[in-house]
Symmetry: D2
Subunit: 422 residues, 4 copies
């Protein structure tokens, strides 16, 4: 299975498998974006690419420039159409727009990034057995965004010859993992005229044939990267001459876990990655860590974030070191509009192959929340819906895969829902 | 043994026992100062009292005003001469000066405060058995400063009729315990014309009959009182609404003990008293602690003190609480002048009852260091000497006592040494 | 207002004021118990006293023997009837039983202990203005248990001449504050034949005239006293020779606050009192602290308690010190039986002076929970009800007081409810 | 400069440059050992190799088996003589013995391992400019052990035809960096018949032409690798279900830095590498760290090591995780025998090119200490001497290099000293 150099004429299943095999993690979706843009262009959509799809100041968790350059070079080698690669600059993502009539502006948001994890290689894993497991070490579509991209493309194809009396906008969003790409796309301006927005996720434990008309109550979440920088010295001869970044980091970690619970609802704090890399006889010069906070509400996660900042600031003062914090990613809460939920239910009821329609709590975090809120703040309505997909292993695991029947069924339901929104 | 209302005509042993029984802790030596001042005045010395003996801005570890008032009222009740009490204001201590001739200005520094500790009450303890154990609960002469005061008075008496061709200055210093009174007396101006200064300590493990011609290598030391102040809240209902002073204190303590050792020499850190006093269901509003740092040199203790300040400041920031730090006390290092050591050796050799003369390391901390340094900075010379006293139990313990023979012997040696300094 | 030497013939208001003035904190209610027992005896009830009212092995948070002895001596001085004092031994509390007929066994639980806090003394506080503020420093009825005791006595009086066809049991429980007396009384056996149990609390923010037919959803709670014991040493000379109890305590505190939140519901942790009392130059020998955990459910507070034990054990190991933990108190959750709630509602509806009947969440913790559970485990039913009391200041504050009209109204409603239970 | 396949016929400078270019870190010195063994064999020495040179139970800080296998395979590819590679098994190091006469058994210990660090590649660094910088990424002779190996070989050559009336033993020791190879070689038995032992180091800040007749007062040191292992869980959904290895590690680190200073002398503690590598939303499963302690004496470093073990054990208990500790390396103190120091001084005085002979404090740590002690315990004498080498940049830095004149001069002095030992 060589990399496709065009999606035109290929089934959505083939598109999904190609994206799965050449998985691109957040902010590295150069090939994905270029191939999608090429067909959307052919289909008659007006295409915005890369830098034009986000507010660049709002981008979070962007890998270093050399990693981005390597990812883009890889996309080029794997046959991504050059013209689109050139156009997108260093930023990924696509917004495709087409005006079919005077009706409302309806949007569909799908995310397109892979996860940073290694895919299973044994024959018990269908993508491996059938030759479309990721060939990019440490990058894998373990959350179904390959199917999301295919669904978005399917919807574009479905309306290629009209059938909807309004304007259709398709958002292929970068870097959903970690909550890095939603906020900048929401701030791009492209959402500002949307009347009705659909966002979609496959899988999440539901079987193929089930439609989730709304996912509710996502958690608000923020991820922070923190680096403490001190000064090294010889731990034997001059222990006093160093400024110990590790002592600052450990003081911070101990006190981060000690942030007071909140009386108004559930909060969470966790420190994931920690790294300090010195010889045993050198006072630590630099220590880095990655922190995540959550809250049942936006206010609760903001409370946690505020307390994290105090703790980190104080820890640096304690040990006379400098620090930098960077927001790695952020999501917020949202609520679905009842009218949109009803539209999805009606569309599902009208679609062959839908066995059941349910409504569920989300339980996780999603940066579609920023797009949903943007639309609602400007008077539009929105819904976050699900398409069951019988995945054999949990999301984010090495054996994640989906029942590909979900792709066409997802397209059908969404097309129907969009049509009903006009 | 009722409290004496005058020392005149009493033996030095009787004076010491009276001071022992009516022990006054640091900055509370109202009765001690008044009684000493009264006799010194009678003996023809010009007497400076209380406020006139210190730079008030330099006073450290001063008890609250109500405690001072109570101590002064107690002195009044116990028969301290009113006129002197009135004159000294809220500050204790005496400087007595008398010019006998044109020769050098020679000083003697003795400290007069008791310790804050309870004295043993059983008959195995001679002061209890013979009725002169402290009647002031929690105050006890457990370091021999009662004997120091008696020695100072003895020297004053010895020169009452001359016998020394110069000016004699006797410094009865308050609040040596904790290192609180030396710095302010050193800054008073009274030391500035001293040519030769003697300071004396009894006991310290040496038997009566032994003279220590110089104590060397004291440690530099600083004591800090720290109070963190946050805000209380109900730990069940609103744990987030408090600002937890105890979390700040514990973060501070953990990191204080973690202050880096210094490559240039020995340092010390300790947290003594810690107190937070809340119901279990209240987020802590206030936490107090007492910290001590030491260093082999002044620079090393200053290094520690600087690091303590960073840690405390950072801990407060971490937990969004306020804090105050107060210097409870401070000592520095000093060196003895060889010429003065020789004077002491010669005086000891010329004094009946002296069995042995030795030179020793001090091992502890002393705020006479500030007086010694003040004299030396202005061109004078100084020595810190010792008088053995066969104490049955260690300094600062509940059973501390001394062989009172040390008092007269101490007077003899010092009188001889002063005479030889002219 | 001299202390009463008998309650007979006194109004419930006078009884309450007498108990308020001679407030006795948990496990010290000798006078309260003796006076209640004397009248209950006179009224014809069979009286169990002190040791006979609890399983002594289950008692928690018992003050030291000398404190108990002093409290009992004080009760004697204040005129508590000697015979009952003698009978109760070192334990307080009363269970009074009387069989009126063959009907069900109905219980009423009231708690009788004061809080450990100082009462306000100014005229703005009615008990002070009218001469019945507590004369026992640091002990105060700031939670209305004086009124509870009076209500219990009022119910006993109401049935003195019958009017109820069954057996009545009145539980005057010690040491509710801190959750120390409920568990041992529940384990005494006295609850084992109860068919219907009422427990009552006054105030809690409701005005006089309001009856709370059930308080629901109390938190499960445990309080732990922890003492770390190391070895002292001189912080300057031999810092290594100590075993630092304070370092153990601070390591524990930091990590206690860091105990992971639980995914199944709300948990709480707090450290209230902390004390380490050393000179600054002594490595800390002993440090004590008081910890409280809570959980939305019994399992959640047990999770917290288990984690506390790990943390404390590990902290002691870290610093090579010993430790002891003692359960200071414990409460659990409970649910009210619907049939009992309906009985209270009906009784309230039938009682003059009741303006409104409501049902509420409790929000706090209560060791009546153990009595409720004991009854329910053996097939009985129970309810925890409230009597509004227009208190001018919050519970547990220095200005707490109640509208005494609540006492008679409480008696009326409970008498009616008991009568309806037969 | 292709890798040499034999040292025979090459100058010591060429040998040193070859070893420098194909630098092998501790326990990976397969090529170094094989090439040395081959020539020593040719020169008539009886050669012990690898496993036969150590007590395998005493080896510390041994890399994983796959790393060792890769290092050995690399040695094979780079032309190391196969027969010697085969003979040495998985262990490196050489002991070469030759009996020339009936005189004493004299030993020379040189160490042969490179450091784990990247060498500078720019032309300002002579090894890079002249083509002999290390071609093994992350391995570099930055401490002069390449020169030590060359000196050892030079001494072997010097005595190839006799000139010494005794037995010569040459110890080419593995893994000195980190103190990993000295203890196992000392326990091998090969040292047990040594009468006089020389150990040598080049550089250390002295210029070429200077001989250090003895390095004194090395620090005792121990390095520990610690891994905490808990259990992961989702930080949002089930934070309580994890067992947090990172919390254990941070509790340990805070308290490690807080280990009490020792009254008997200087101690040191440092945590170098720390690593925990989880996604932000996963409770940490594994955290690793590397710790180093030092002491002015063996007892002081043992005190620190004992306290480290307590802290780590307690931290694991606190957070209910498992842990493993492994000794990464260890050194001890030693003293030089005066007779041996005099021998070196005499040899230096008799050697052309020696400008100056000095004696110095060592300041660092050395596992030659174990060999020195072994010899002395069995009645022999030993000295640790230095050969100045005008290094342009500090030891262990990326720009370290030496004046190669030191090699021949070192050989001359040592040959003279050995000859004088017979």
């Amino acid at each position: 299975m060589d990399p496709l150099t065009t999606f035109d004429g290929r089934s959505l299943e083939a598109v999904r498998r190609d994206l799965h095999k050449y998985a691109e993690a957040g902010w590295k979706e150069f090939r994905t974006s270029a191939l999608l843009a090429a067909e959307l262009d052919d289909l008659g959509y007006e295409v915005s690419l890369g830098e034009a799809t986000v507010d660049p100041d709002e981008r979070m968790g962007v890998p270093p420039a050399d990693e981005l350059a390597a990812a883009k070079a890889r996309a080029r080698e794997e046959g991504a159409p050059e013209a689109y690669l050139d156009e997108m600059g260093d930023v990924t993502g696509v917004v495709a727009t087409r005006e079919f009539g005077d009706g409302p502006v309806v949007g569909l948001r799908t995310d397109i990034d892979a996860l940073e994890r290694q895919e299973a290689a044994d024959d018990g894993h269908r993508p491996a057995a059938e030759g479309f497991a990721s060939v990019h070490p440490g990058e894998m579509h373990a959350c179904g965004h390959d199917a999301h991209a295919a669904i978005g493309l399917g919807v574009a194809r479905a309306f290629a010859d009209g059938g909807f009396d309004g304007t259709l906008k398709l958002f292929f969003q970068s870097a959903e993992e970690g909550g890095r790409g939603g906020k900048p796309m929401a701030a791009s301006g492209h959402l500002d005229d949307i009347d009705h927005l659909f966002a979609v996720h496959v899988g999440l434990g539901e079987p193929a044939g089930t439609i989730v008309s709304s996912y509710d109550a996502p958690l608000s979440n923020a991820k922070l990267d923190i680096t403490f920088t001190g000064e090294p010295s010889h731990a034997g001869g001059e222990p006093h001459a160093g400024r110990n970044a590790l002592q600052a980091a450990t003081a911070a970690i101990e006190n981060l876990y000690g942030i007071a619970r909140h009386g108004d609802g559930a909060t969470r704090i966790n420190v994931g990655q920690v790294s300090a890399d010195n010889a045993q006889n050198v006072i630590c010069e630099e220590a880095t860590m990655r922190v995540e906070v959550r809250g049942e509400t936006h206010d609760l996660s903001e409370y946690m974030l505020g307390r994290v900042r105090d703790v980190v600031d104080g820890a640096a003062t304690m040990h006379d070191v400098e620090y930098e914090t960077g927001l790695y990613g952020k999501t917020t809460t949202f609520r679905n509009d009842e009218s949109m939920v009803e539209t999805v239910e009606a569309a599902a009821a009208a679609t062959d192959g839908v066995d059941e329609t349910v409504s569920k709590e989300f339980g996780g975090s999603e940066d579609a929340s920023y797009l949903v809120r943007r639309v609602q703040e400007r008077g539009g309505t929105a819904v976050y819906l699900g398409v069951g997909a019988s995945n054999p292993s949990g999301h984010h695991t090495a054996y994640f895969d989906i029942d590909e029947a979900a792709i066409d069924l997802g397209v059908d339901v969404i097309v129907e829902a969009i049509a009903r929104s006009a």
